[in-house]
Point group: D2
Chain length 430, copies 4
């Protein structure tokens, strides 16, 4: 396969994934096709329960998982692998062990899409290009389609190279589900997928790097995060006849929204607060008895995250007390913060500077978001290994998680080539 064919294939992969966006734990089509492709390239492939612990926070309902499975099959999933990854076991790990002495290098790619409306505006690149998501309300608005396509592109080159050359050590490709919500990472780490890894590499597209050709050699300050659901339970009453007998759960939720957003900044580092969704009430003319918020906080470190969690508790319980309703807070995901290993970041910087199309290499940048990559990085670093999360610059159609989000296909090749360059630099690729 010529270089330009390989590029075309990677772009086609990305657009196909984009068009068939699947949200966290529902990536049956994505995982099954990734698994089939990697198996076809000669990798030893493990999927489903082999690579994911049973404890997976934020799992959708049984009905949603069933619907996702059916949709995946209707959209061309591989039936065999689909059976293995259904019911929220949508992870894939592919290994190429050379048998020759050398480091074990893991590359991690996340594969899930986001909930959110994708623009149908003719000005939206994915609409114009005919690869807008075919699933209403699910949109690859964080670029994981690009990450997955890069992973497949890297796999293709590794396979070709290992046929031709003299690789050493072991390469492990980790395709992670449910990154959004910080849910899949801990479950894969718990299943041991980065055990024995000496070097871990990953990338994110477009974060703090919105020009194609830019590379951030390693993010630091990936934010620690805590995800929570707050449930309020009050009491219904007829809104005209006996409103005073009601206890208003939607009022409690409204107080909570306002005051969660108003949790004070912290003097020692960055914080973030979001209430992503709210849902409450039964019917127009009844004092509403139920409401639920889905929220998250993020912080520069675990001490600040602890402060935020404490304040979330104060706000939710206090808001319930104001409205005279009951409150319950449930943890729905989370991750510690992480930093790239400086020595490994230096390797990435050196490699990236030589990659075709790269115009700017920045040593480091604050990530400013959270990412499940933290879980893998912390596991590898705690065991004495090195980890880097590098930034892959790309022109974007919109900010992340927004309706016009799309990436620049040219960035895919750069991403692939940085990974390949690192593998060569580390000696695992001939």
């Amino acid at each position: 396969m010529s270089r330009s064919d390989a590029v075309r294939a990677m772009i086609a992969d990305r657009r196909d994934l984009h068009a068939h966006a699947e949200a966290g734990w529902c990536e049956v089509r994505t995982a099954s096709l990734v698994a089939r492709r990697l198996a076809g390239l000669g990798f030893a492939v493990r999927v489903g329960r082999e690579v994911l612990a049973a404890d997976r926070p934020g799992l959708p309902s049984h009905e949603e998982l069933k619907a996702a499975y059916r949709r995946a099959l209707a959209h061309g999933a591989d039936p065999g692998f689909a059976e293995l990854v259904r019911d929220g076991f949508t992870g894939v790990v592919a290994t190429l062990a050379t048998g020759r002495p050398g480091p074990t290098v893991a590359l991690r790619f996340d594969i899930d899409a986001n909930y959110g409306h994708e623009s149908a505006d003719p000005g939206h690149t994915a609409q114009r290009g005919g690869y807008r998501s075919r699933t209403d309300g699910v949109h690859h608005s964080c670029g994981h389609d690009a990450h997955t396509a890069i992973g497949l592109g890297v796999a293709r080159e590794i396979a070709a190279a290992s046929a031709a050359g003299e690789p050493a050590g072991e390469v492990r490709l980790v395709f992670q589900p449910a990154e959004e919500g910080l849910r899949g990472g801990p479950a894969m780490v718990a299943a041991g997928v980065v055990d024995g890894v000496d070097v871990l590499l990953g990338c994110h597209i477009g974060v703090q790097a919105r020009a194609t050709g830019e590379v951030i050699a390693g993010y630091r300050r990936i934010l620690a995060s805590h995800k929570f659901d707050a449930h309020f339970t009050g009491r219904n009453a007829h809104a005209g006849i006996s409103p005073h007998e009601g206890r208003n759960a939607v009022q409690a939720a409204a107080i909570a929204v306002q005051n969660l957003l108003a949790i004070s900044r912290h003097g020692d580092g960055e914080t973030r607060v979001n209430v992503g969704t709210v849902e409450g009430g039964e019917t127009r003319n009844s004092v509403p008895a139920r409401a639920v918020l889905r929220g998250e906080v993020r912080a520069d470190d675990d001490v600040i995250l602890g402060y935020l969690r404490d304040r979330v508790g104060d706000v939710v319980r206090g808001a319930a007390a104001v409205a005279g309703v009951a409150a319950r807070i449930e943890t729905a995901g989370g991750a510690a913060g992480a930093d790239s290993t400086p020595e490994l970041a230096a390797v990435v910087a050196r490699v990236a500077a030589r990659v075709d199309g790269v115009t700017v290499v920045r040593d480091a940048a604050d990530f400013k978001g959270s990412d499940d990559m933290s879980s893998f990085m912390n596991a590898v670093q705690a065991a004495g290994g090195q980890a880097v999360y590098f930034g892959l610059g790309s022109r974007l159609g919109d900010v992340h998680h927004a309706p016009f989000f799309d990436v620049d296909d040219d960035a895919l090749v750069i991403g692939r080539d940085v990974f390949l360059g690192c593998l060569r630099e580390l000696g695992v690729l001939g």
Copy 2:
């Protein structure tokens, strides 16, 4: 049919309706079975588009209407009538015109159930009695099942009496869908179902009268009401990386909830405000771009209602401005206020005092709620007729619109007999 058989039939009807609760515009089973029964009793029956104008506010989505139709058939609807009332045309009007000179008397019964959870607690009468709603999230928590069963009981006695006696004038039984939300009344009035009516009677169970045996001879101050939906549209953004690029629709909704509830009381009369439901956001880690509230205001009169509507506009638009999002307010229903005609209320009082089981007759009481009955009353009174909405006392399992709500079966017979007594007093029943 003996008196006790008739009572048993009415109770059985009520429990069957309770168990197969259907929400507004979805009452396919209810309407079809009512129509079949009345036709069988010899009434001239009109249904669907004959008795409802096309303009029906707050109609559910096409999908919901289809699902309601399927569910109704599965639960034993009459297939023929179901076909006529499907797609939100769930009204029935049955007429018995004697041909002999006399007044035209209309009796109006509402038939819809409420959205809301019905308790499954063994202490809940409907649970213990085996007639708890079989449809999740739909509950006859306002007693319209009782109203409908009373209407059927009245119809049975009219049929028997007209066979035996010497009725005069015309009796018209109006079974109204979608009372909740004040949606069905205007559509039936627009279709002319109370044209030519001299006297209009209706009742509500348990409002301001929570003891079985109590009758309120006529409600006054049925509140004027305005139902509205407020839509907020902001802009998504990644909650960690670029929260400042978002415009938060859920924040706007939260401000609106708090400040709608805080709209000032009015010095000249009663007001009510409720936000029954709120729904917003797309996903946990994105600044939410959409939110919608479903609310209502009520007032003693139209001037005060106008004040409330103005303030709703201020609050919704102001809340949007605070959060930097766009807002849109849509009217979703409404009714003017109404008062019972005193002369007719005096007839009800006289009749009720003689009814078996009645222990207390009160001349009048404030209704304190709104009711689609207003639309019928205003139409009849404006044309020179008389109208009364009387209160039927009943022990209740809970306040209206609350999970343990259920009525006392003994009240059904009293309700039926007050209607029949009035028909006799008015000379339309022999």
Copy 3:
């Protein structure tokens, strides 16, 4: 003194009082001049500690009381009586006991002005008439200047009549301080000023009667009320360097304001909620550690008032919990509800119909506000007596408590004459 001279005197009194407005417990000039006048007319006059119990809620600070005393002297107070009423003992009771058998009739007038800015607009009647308040921030915006002037006018006629005619029984004129905030009434009742009273009369100008010539023969549903202060105590911190170490009392107050206003209406009767003042914080760049609200709730009856008080507690404590601060609620005044005695109201109606200038007499009307008159009415009625609070119609310059508020001088004569007519009807005036 001719009738027109008497009228001119009453108008002059009212304008003088208006120009020298004194807020609750500070009415040193007003009380001293009232006492001097009544003593001069031959009444037995008691003032200060003789007519007020020591327990007087909402007393201003020692400094404010001292300043009020000085200002009163500067503005022409009677030095002797001023000494007796200073330090918040600003009540006056004047008695004319005939020694002849007959009922004891008390007439009650409130004398305090309001805090609030009086308009200096040339269109404002008091500004144009040259009697705008000379004390910044204190304004007779509730018409107590008119009440006091009427009381003086009544006293003058009683004195004249008793000289000429054959009065019987006893007339007691009660001039009450600190009506605003419902503070002076309980303290006068506790001092026994209505002990032994058979009939109690009082009036309010302009409430539910905004046309001169209108009389409401007796208010009913004077609202029960509870006045409270809510104190929040948090913790200061530098707003830039360590905001997370602060606990924000102003935030708690803001939550409380919003949710006090949002306390649900009650299905069984009217409610009112107000937060009249808020004050919090120390300096711009410090997380604020202190805040205080001054609020009130009102209700149709004591059950509903109890509901409101409970909810105030929930809101204040919950708001504090949200912000992580401490809260303390203090009672600052209050009164039960009251209703005029119907038989006595009928007397007023009969009398008023004959009074010159009266164009409309309404039997009764809801008061819609609270008033310290309740305390006197409840005391008299509980002891078997009768009480009426009648409405004196007047064209107004603005709504009560607003900057352009002023009354129509023509109403003063009508008010005086209704009182005099009642005294004659009751046989205590010849």
Copy 4:
């Protein structure tokens, strides 16, 4: 004077200043005594209008300034200098020009205290030591008393050294009033007090350095800040009788407080929001017509500050719209951000490492607050000079701006010696 005498004098100065705390623009005693001392030491002293432009934002009222002047005289101010610095001209600049070629080095010290309660707890060091503020509600809770005492200590040594040694260039000591609120700096810069300055040095005690012995060689990221007042104007009405005629300014303020605090974090840098004070309403039983907030926002850079100012506008105007009131925003102070010049910071680091008592020297740290020092730094740097704001570690009794705040006297000597060391290093001190 021996070293230990000099140390004792500096400590005594600090405690005297602490006990006689004066808030911004009111530092009459402080400025007059500083001026007298410096004049006595042989410096050329300029004060008042010579060193402050007329435009001084956030000036207290005429009454407050007068009271401050009287209090200062009563507390021992120098009468002559007091006359020159009264009415808000409380700045002092002292110069020692050697006439020998060399750089012009300015040292800047801020002198104002904070509004806020100082603890009277026996555990509070200033209470125990007998130097708690004698002025209620004014407290040196930001350590400017220490800065001023250090300035005086430096002056004494300069005077001694210049008598003995061979200084070159010029030393200029700038004592700045009204640092709190960022008010005095621009007015001094506008008066030209740092014109011609080559090197500017300043320090802050205890910021990011809470151990005595720690020195931060130069703060970076001193936050840009904008101070604002938001005024809300509604309409009074009687809270019981006609609440609907009111337009509630306190409600608007409450909405604004909540949503100012909830202004979203910014993805590109730190932000701060504070509402330091709120005041609203006239009286308990009237819908409040007036309210005012005093707030501030801070940001890492001017772009982010612009975002915050835009959002403040949205929130204030939107909150007013919700409540139906008018809003007005006024600017009350502000400063751009600033960073220490790295080369000069390196000098400080080198010097500090040699200072007695210094245990840790950190190269740099984020300031995390705003400071009027920015105005001086920006002016000097813009003119081609160098500026440093260094951090002087100190054990603290509490966080800044909090009731137990007090500093460690040992830090004073270290601060003085770092300044002196720098002056020597720069060649202006022999």
